[in-house]
């Protein structure tokens, strides 16, 4: 990540000079990164809300029952945490929120899942197999109905804004399968 981050910044700095607009850097500094504050403000309230509600659910034990029911599925994908109920609960909630397309709530559960998985991690700097698989599935996109995209299509005057729903679903299923297979492949290869 270090190299990638520096690479993006150095390329950005370099090209702001090549394109004779070094003021781009200042603009990014003063206007663009403000957006990170908007993002975090949106995130704080929704994260606090869901972790609060999740604590209520945890105390009733209902999540543990659901997680046990889904154990075969979880056991295959996230072998190293399958007996850590708190981590499994948070993983399943993240995936459920992502399926429904509620991104900010998914982030709330996702961070919780990472924290639970990190507790059992021996090398705190290095991702575990389960963490890698968790991220790979999440970044492959598993959202079932792309409501925001349909909305943007409608706003742009499409005659059938939702006609892309079925194709999107097919592509999503396919790319998630590719994600899981490649994740498992790298895992077995031990990279």
């Amino acid at each position: 990540m270090n190299k990638l981050w520096l690479g993006l910044i150095f390329l950005g700095l370099l090209f702001s000079f090549i394109n004779k607009s070094p003021q781009t850097v200042t603009n990014v500094l003063f206007f663009e990164i403000e957006k990170s504050v908007d993002l975090i403000l949106n995130l704080i309230s929704i994260m606090a809300f869901w972790t609060g509600l999740m604590r209520v659910a945890e105390k009733t034990n209902i999540l543990n029952k659901l997680s046990s029911a889904l154990k075969p599925f979880v056991g295959y994908l996230f072998e190293d945490v399958q007996n850590n109920l708190k981590a499994v609960n948070a993983i399943l909630l993240t995936l459920a929120a992502n399926l429904m397309g509620i991104g900010n709530s998914a982030t709330a559960f996702g961070i919780k899942a990472m924290e639970e998985m990190q507790k059992a991690n021996l090398n705190k700097k290095r991702a575990t197999n389960a963490m890698c698989m968790f991220l790979i599935i999440n970044v492959s996109s598993i959202q079932l109905i792309p409501l925001n995209i349909i909305k943007l299509r409608a706003d742009s005057g499409s005659s059938a804004p939702s006609e892309i729903m079925v194709p999107t679903l097919i592509v999503t299923i396919f790319s998630t399968m590719v994600a899981i297979i490649s994740g498992k492949y790298f895992e077995r290869k031990g990279s």
Partner: protein, 171 residues
């Protein structure tokens, strides 16, 4: 009123009701959990800031255009539509940036064109890989992501390829 509008109120009501039924002190449990969530959210702020600065600089300085320019001959050689190149490059980097690029594609080619449909399907079935990794891994202090980015990019490539083929077949 559709089903997805009903999920939230039902879920919240169900959890709270079940909590009361099981004799949980619902209010203190909620506040206690929310405190944890607040701390986690604040902890990820530096990671969000770092990645947003780098990505915006990369895109706005023209570095992204330059790389798209280099890739263009290669991608057109394999029959990949050049109109979608920018979107495909920006989407794994930035959610906000890709929305802007997507809007430009819709405005230029129309939402009901082949390009517009492909762009919609790509947007609907891909995620911001680098941003999500920075935030999720950052939140627990992990710096070695191992093969996560590689596998994520493979699945992104699968999304784009499948979108081009499926849109050709379906419409």
């Amino acid at each position: 009123m559709n089903i997805s509008d009903m999920i939230m109120p039902l879920l919240i009501g169900l959890i709270l009701f079940y909590g009361v039924y099981k004799g949980v002190d619902v209010y203190s449990a909620f506040v206690e959990g929310a405190m944890d969530g607040t701390k986690s959210a604040l902890k990820i702020f530096p990671y969000i800031l770092a990645i947003i600065f780098a990505i915006n600089l990369f895109i706005l300085s023209g570095a992204e255009d330059f790389i798209a320019g280099i890739l263009k001959p290669v991608t057109s050689f394999i029959g990949f539509p050049a109109e979608l190149l920018s979107l495909v490059l920006v989407k794994p980097l930035s959610g906000g940036g890709s929305l802007g690029t997507f809007q430009t594609v819709l405005d230029t080619y129309g939402p009901d064109s082949y390009i517009g449909r492909c762009a919609s399907v790509i947007m609907g079935s891909s995620e911001t890989i680098f941003y999500s990794c920075a935030v999720y891994f950052g939140s627990v202090g992990i710096s070695d992501y191992r093969y996560t980015i590689r596998a994520g990019l493979l699945s992104h490539a699968a999304t784009v390829t499948a979108a081009l083929i499926v849109c050709r077949l379906v419409f």
